[in-house]
Amino acid sequence: MTVLDVRAWTVVCRFDRLLPERGVAALVGGEQVAIFRTHDGALFALANRDPFSDAYVLSRGIVGSRGAVPTVASPMHKQVFSLVTGECLDEPGVAVPVYEVRVRDGDVEVAVP
């Protein structure tokens, strides 16, 4: 049996375009996606919208860690979100969507459902 990969992957930029421990924003199928590269070269993608301020700014937050979890802090009011799950670690119950992201042939690709 063949399993079809039905997700649509969109190329957003070259991997080298991403600075370690900073984010960029991309426009994918009408959604604003924040893409982050951590110091070990891993990639994460969250919705760019900060649910607290309603501004599309998460890509411009400071990347770091809390315990073992890689994080980004909203540049607006500094709430910290897990890059892995999108959950806000300062305000239980708040989370932002996470998207799949991968590197193929040096291109960063994001899947937005």
């Binding site: 190329v11 930029c13 375009r17 900073r22 924003a25 991309a26 239980p92 708040v94």
Partner: protein, 838 residues
């Protein structure tokens, strides 16, 4: 071995569960065998946090029953209500026909929401808000309808209304009383609250009685006493609670006239082997609808069951909560019920602040108060209830109390009932040196946390070294980190954190280290790894605004601007459609620039001879000045020239916080220099230097540091002062707070600075001056450097895959001929609501 006695607990709610844990803790020999009978189908959960269940918190996360809590000596029976107490046979019967004997019986049955006898209140689509099952039902219904109404504008009603908003419904609140939260706030506070709540998207109908609810096509129609009506998809009743005393009533135990099982100080009912705790109990003539008094009752009964003599006297009903992002607090005699009490009120309806203190008729003692919009003084004020006033009521209202004169018996933590004396003894006798250990030792600050600022103050006052750790990644504070970086010569974050910290940093330590590196002169702030350390303002060399756009502020040294310069700025503003405003620091602020516009804007400004104004940085901001002796008929010195000289010397200096300065040409002080970190005022014989002033949240006047200085002497002293501040202050500590901290450490902070910076007691002055000379000598304009660097420029894009496309979420409307951000959806401080944890 003695035989075990049998304890039966009716109700596995918050308080019933606490009782089990309290007994287990005090009863290591297992003298009691415990059976808990709970009617709900699930073990006890955190009802206080119930609303978070709608925004993603799971049932398991809300759970309050620790693993292994029920073992061989205790059992928990769920989904079975107790239907009868047989006091003669000393047994209870359950809905499943189980008969359980008891030696001691504790009723912890809580309360049920009161549903007023409105015709139609039992229709499909009408709900109450108390259990997880209630919320499941509300969520189901919310999926099919567009709006909801909450009947009752009290604490819980507002929380429920916010929950409806978070479910995507439009929501309104109908309240019988003329104001919201009638039990907690007075009319003035209620008015401020209503405005704030309406700004956030919640409609409030006050003074409104609901007469009838009827089913209409696809929903419900509510009819009100004034003849009007409202159609809605669902109705939630939140009109108060009633104690669940039916079992007790049927068993012939004494109950109050308005409900509640009567208990004495021991929480014992009229039958000595039956106790009642939590919301079902009427203690001291009062039913407590908060969890903390219930917990206290549980502790009392646990103690009594094991032979103690603890008593439940009276609980503090003070509340502080954040409701839809608005701080609300009330404490003591908030409604001025005491005979002849005086009320002192401060109201700023525009700013959304309302504060009231209730004092005795001679204004000698504090009785209570209400705070809406700004509840920062709550913790300290609450402890002063009943105590002599330490200041005039007006001062207490505006500035908040000082904590130094907190008596030993003042209650600091009302949730766990801990006094200032107990905390002082934990610090001195138990060696608690930080807030965490005080919490562990006294339990103060562990429930609602509102007293944590007081705990910190008590620690500082006790002279105990507060834990200096910057954050979870570094165990040292900023000053120590500065020395480490300076001495070791490490110049990258990765090296610094690898050697002296752990993890990958955060929004606290990264900007702190970025600032330290910048103060030590490490090239452009966006070079290499430094780029990843900067806060968004420094990363884009502009100030982020609430809609994600940025403001642009060119440097205007001393506030002196040529007509050509003014025209150039005006043209840039016009061509990029920016909002223009004059700042308090004599600059021109251009707002509404999108990230991708910043380089083009700055290209124009740099070409016109401007440079970065560092309005975005924790750095020297402005040196404000008057026209001085050059023009002014009163001026005694040339304040403008001095201001320009100082601004050009210290521009770009990165510091623990922003630095502002001012120079006035005579004692009339038109430049408001004494509200600055560094203030210079002309005297007949030279310059007087003032330090440590600031405006803002806690205004402070700068204090005189040295008088009659020449230009050169002044510059040397300011060099030393600023560089010493840069090296030794804490992160985000303005000079005023730094000097206060020096006072705590060395006695008089200003005198200490005089010894170090004038008398050179530590022998550091030459080094400080040299460091400042290096700074001034190596200054370059950050923006000009970015414009010359393709790689850095490439970061100024809206989208990495559509660099020129403007962010579609940014929208403006026009007001008084200029743009301003369009108001979008209501901004709620958080989908979950922190409530009434006292």
């Amino acid at each position: 071995m003695t035989t075990q006695r049998q304890l039966v607990v009716v109700g596995n709610g918050m308080v019933g569960q606490r009782l089990v844990e309290a007994v287990r803790q005090r009863d290591p020999e297992r003298r009691w065998r415990i059976t808990v009978l709970g009617e709900e189908p699930r073990p006890a959960y955190d009802r206080v946090a119930l609303t978070s269940y709608l925004t993603g918190t799971t049932e398991a996360e809300l759970g309050l029953v620790p693993d292994g809590c029920y073992d061989g000596d205790s059992e928990l029976v769920l989904g079975e209500a107790v239907t009868r107490i047989d006091r003669d046979a000393r047994v209870v019967e359950t809905s499943a026909g189980r008969v359980v004997p008891y030696d001691a019986l504790v009723l912890a049955t809580g309360s049920r929401p009161f549903v007023p006898p409105v015709p139609g209140a039992d229709l499909d689509g009408c709900f109450v808000y108390r259990t997880i099952d209630d919320l499941d039902a509300i969520r189901d219904r919310a999926g099919h309808v567009a709006s909801g109404v909450v009947i009752g504008g009290g604490l819980l009603g507002l929380e429920a209304a916010n929950a409806l908003l978070s479910l995507g419904l439009s929501a309104s609140v109908v309240e019988f009383a003329p104001r919201l939260m009638p039990a907690q706030v007075d009319q003035g506070g209620g008015e401020v609250l209503r405005r704030k709540v309406e700004e956030l998207g919640l409609a409030a109908r006050l003074d409104t009685a609901t007469e009838r609810i009827a089913a209409v096509d696809g929903g419900l129609r509510m009819s009100f006493a004034d003849g009007s009506s409202l159609d809605t998809g669902l109705v939630v009743f939140s009109a108060g609670i009633r104690p669940r005393d039916e079992l007790a009533r049927a068993a012939g135990l004494a109950v109050g006239e308005r409900g509640g099982i009567v208990v004495d100080e021991a929480c014992r009912t009229s039958d000595p082997s039956i106790w009642a705790i939590g919301e079902c109990a009427l203690a001291g003539g009062r039913v407590y609808g908060l969890v903390a008094p219930g917990y206290e009752m549980a502790e009392v009964v646990a103690d009594r069951l094991l032979g103690g003599d603890a008593a439940f006297l009276e609980a503090d009903m003070s509340t502080k909560l954040k409701l839809l992002g608005v701080d609300v607090a009330s404490f003591g005699d908030a409604h001025a019920a005491t005979a002849d009490a005086l009320e002192v009120v401060y109201a700023d309806p525009v700013g959304g602040v309302y504060k009231k203190l209730v004092v005795t008729d001679d204004a000698s003692r504090l009785l209570g108060g209400v705070l809406v919009g700004d509840a920062s003084a709550y913790a300290a004020l609450r402890t002063m209830v009943g105590q002599p006033l330490t200041d005039t009521p007006e001062k207490l209202l505006l500035a908040g109390p000082s904590t130094s004169d907190l008596g030993d018996d003042a209650q600091v933590c009302s949730c766990q009932n801990v006094s200032a004396g107990a905390i002082r003894s934990a610090i001195h006798d138990e060696g608690c040196a930080d807030v965490a250990s005080i919490k562990a030792c006294t339990r103060a600050g562990t429930v609602c946390g509102s007293c944590v600022p007081l705990l910190k103050t008590l620690l500082t006052q006790s002279g105990v070294e507060a834990n200096p750790a910057l954050c979870e990644h570094f165990d040292v504070g900023r000053a120590e980190l500065f020395d480490i970086v300076r001495v070791t010569g490490l110049r990258t974050f990765s090296e610094i954190i690898a050697r002296h910290g752990r993890g990958r940093g955060c929004d606290i330590c990264k900007p702190a280290i970025a600032s330290i590196l910048a103060s030590l002169g490490s090239g452009h702030i966006l070079d290499g790894e430094q780029a990843a350390l900067q806060d968004t303002n420094d990363a884009f060399l502009a100030n982020i605004q609430r809609n994600g756009t940025y403001s642009v502020v060119p440097r205007v040294p001393g506030g002196e601007l040529t007509p050509e310069g003014l025209i150039a700025i005006g043209e840039v503003a016009r061509d990029f459609g920016l909002y223009s405003k004059i700042t308090g620091g004599q600059r021109i602020d251009l707002l509404g620039a999108r990230v991708e516009q910043l380089p083009a804007i700055w290209k124009r400004l740099v070409d016109a001879g401007f440079e970065s104004g560092h309005a975005y940085g924790k750095a020297l901001r402005t040196v404000k000045s008057c026209v001085g002796s050059t023009w002014c008929r009163y001026g005694v010195q040339d304040s403008t020239s001095l201001a320009i000289m100082l601004e050009l010397r210290y521009r770009g200096l990165r510091a623990p916080h922003k630095i502002k300065a001012g120079v006035s040409g005579c004692a009339r002080e038109c430049a408001e220099a004494r509200s600055k970190d560094v203030g210079v005022i002309a005297s007949e014989n030279g310059w007087n230097l003032y330090v440590g002033g600031n405006g803002g949240f806690r205004p402070r006047h700068a204090e005189l540091f040295a008088s009659d200085l020449s230009d050169a002497e002044l510059v040397r002293l300011v060099d030393r002062f600023l560089m010493f501040y840069v090296r030794t202050a804490d992160r985000l500590q303005r000079t005023a707070a730094w000097i206060e901290a020096l006072t705590e450490e060395h006695g008089d902070g200003l005198a200490y600075l005089h010894r170090v910076l004038v008398e050179d007691e530590l022998g550091v002055c030459a080094d400080l001056e040299a460091a400042m000379d290096r700074h001034a000598g190596s200054y370059t304009d950050e923006w000009a450097a970015v414009l010359d660097d393709e790689e850095k420029l490439s970061r100024f894009v809206s989208f990495v895959n559509a660099p020129e496309a403007p962010d579609p979420s940014i929208r403006f409307v026009t007001e008084r001929g200029q743009i301003r951000p369009a108001d979008g959806a209501p901004v709620v401080a958080g989908p979950t609501l922190e409530v009434v944890r006292r």
